[in-house]
Symmetry: C2
Subunit: 440 residues, 2 copies
Amino acid sequence: MEEIKVGLIGFGTVGSGTAQVLYEQAARLEKRVGASIRLVCVADINVDKLPEHLTESGRITLTKDVNDIFSDPEIGIVVELIGGIEPAKSFILKAIESGKHVVTANKALLSLHGKEIFSAAAQQGVEVGFEASVGGGVPIIKSLKEGLVANKIVSMMGILNGTANYILTQMTDHGTPFGEVLRDAQDQGFAEADPTYDIEGIDTAHKLAILMSIAYGMHITHEDVSIEGISQVEPIDISYAREFGYRIKLLAISRNHGDHVEARVHPTMVPEEHLLANINGAFNAIHFTGDMVGNVLLYGLGAGMMPTGSAVIADVVDIARNIMTNAVNRVPSLSYLPEHIAPRRITSIKDLRFPYYFRITAADQPGVLSTIAGILGRHNISLESVIQKSRRQNGAVPIIMRTHEAEEAAVQHALTEIDRLDICTGATVKIRILDETGKD
Amino acid sequence: MEEIKVGLIGFGTVGSGTAQVLYEQAARLEKRVGASIRLVCVADINVDKLPEHLTESGRITLTKDVNDIFSDPEIGIVVELIGGIEPAKSFILKAIESGKHVVTANKALLSLHGKEIFSAAAQQGVEVGFEASVGGGVPIIKSLKEGLVANKIVSMMGILNGTANYILTQMTDHGTPFGEVLRDAQDQGFAEADPTYDIEGIDTAHKLAILMSIAYGMHITHEDVSIEGISQVEPIDISYAREFGYRIKLLAISRNHGDHVEARVHPTMVPEEHLLANINGAFNAIHFTGDMVGNVLLYGLGAGMMPTGSAVIADVVDIARNIMTNAVNRVPSLSYLPEHIAPRRITSIKDLRFPYYFRITAADQPGVLSTIAGILGRHNISLESVIQKSRRQNGAVPIIMRTHEAEEAAVQHALTEIDRLDICTGATVKIRILDETGKD
């Protein structure tokens, strides 16, 4: 039976899960692939010993020198699972230079340096598999590149970060404040010690940039995405959202307007009957609208040892099949042939229109509402409802407003003006409301 | 640019959608595939003229003789979209014999004669694409065969028939009786004139059989599936389900116990917080549990001209890519290599245990409940709750019972005994309750 040899860089959580399954479930894969996919070398500077069940065969070597993988002519596929920008980028480029196919879960790297990496791979005639970079084990990338190949992707909306969704779900279910949920999540190991990427929407933007690249055939980095995180969301916002029939979710959103496309990540009030409003805990989901297929949603765990390992192995198998049939690059890395990757203008979020939720913190004194309403009116922002319920201890009250559709630029100007008022004692929180009417 | 020529048999709803997109969106596909995928011939006995936009090129011919397609040596891929068993089966076998690849949406045929068709294709070295046979445009088959290739599929649960789900949704939202919703759906063209396959669960069983074939690598027909439809469900059952925190859905369910597997289709009370409880209207969804990936759900429209056409074209593109790279059959048709397709025992539903909902129709007289409870007790069926609310006009009352987990065989015996009682004036309705505790 043909053997496809694999080298693994990074024996952390996902790396060890991937290694375990490649080793223990070799027979399962052989029955489907018709070849033996064999992990032969693991490189990791922090690991001194592989677990016993992996070494008992004596056929997997452990090294601290990653060059042992690049220089082994028998290794056809290199799996990079160390994450981060460097040295991951150098390792991937070195693997490509050495004529090896690459599988990676590294969304930060692909989002920032994808163009360079995919160009290098194209030049060397090798593949880069990255299913594991978005949505863990859910076959989102394969579905987009192959299953939906006949479609123009009209829009994408996703919950792509499990930590942020877990925090919002806990806040929704128990009314716990953001900081407290975050600390709990950190204590339990669900959230990183530095949670910035997760809670500030940066990780979500990495993933959106990757999806946009393949959905539209364009180069884009997460730096082109308009990003707002969830750290300003408070339990009071969540309970008003509930009252209005919404759930607050951190969404990645892109709508395709042909020559320009939207690219944004922000907390969003999602109508409670929408499936995305019902994706809870650490789960991820992506909602595609295609011009043929209509609405499609894919859902599952977006992270974790085994779910991410499942996607890594799917990519390894895909590449192994291409190696066996001499069909390398039968599906272009970015879905479109390299010569059809074209730039597209990113719509400035300032030009977009949304209905909004505002929570304004103002002094509890006569005339406040008329002053604020006056500013909004001058900026052409019309109100759907205003609630000014309970008096607070320090004399400040939250004023809750919902607007009709208004232009983002106008909203930004108006809120800057409002927050400058002496009577406003805290920054206004604004949350965009998902309005699907007539948009799909 | 290389040309891949396609012949289409059946110019009905899905056929005309597929033709339209292949023709109008040729450029879109070329940018991704690097070849021209060209529809050259349409065979249909009921069509006299193709729509003008398809014929203006003068390059698509219409024929009433399907042999024009089989005998054209330039046609590489034959798309079968006439449905039903014959003549579809003969056409597909003829296409395979002529060395052509086949793409079909015909779940009834594959479920019944899949073994013969896939064997013939293997012998001829051609492919059979059938993504469109399950879940319309949602890439369920590709996800199962490729995206989840590393997984042992532990269970599958799906809403796979849009008509049945539409009827149940209307009954749930408006309390309308089954017959009335069905007539409305027929009037609006959502339901067939003969809706038996849809409402009696047969279509759902066709699809479950196909999914089981590829998930487990076994041959199975829908005749091996235990099937119950939804025609006995009444609004009163739906409203009690609601009261207990459930929604009633027609589910296809298979659990994998290794040497034996479950295969059943029946109305099911699904806990309202489960995503499947929230799949409404004509939408389909399939929920896979894999040993690596955990729970994954795929959702979308399960039927219709364009959604099904999207899946047909995805298969055509997949095969075109394999033709171009000489990689035909790089992924085995049934996910496992033919030599690893093995029989597995189907667990008899009688041996399974579920919690149940019963609606017993009995005379409103003293002693009835004790007689019924006595029978259930003798069959080791223990009750969780009993409701006997309102007296009905004719002296018969519905007695609503929920049981703890009980054996299906015992339940069947007990209900036969109960329905034979003089005091019981109508057949008992039983609905199984989905109990996910400890099963995933």
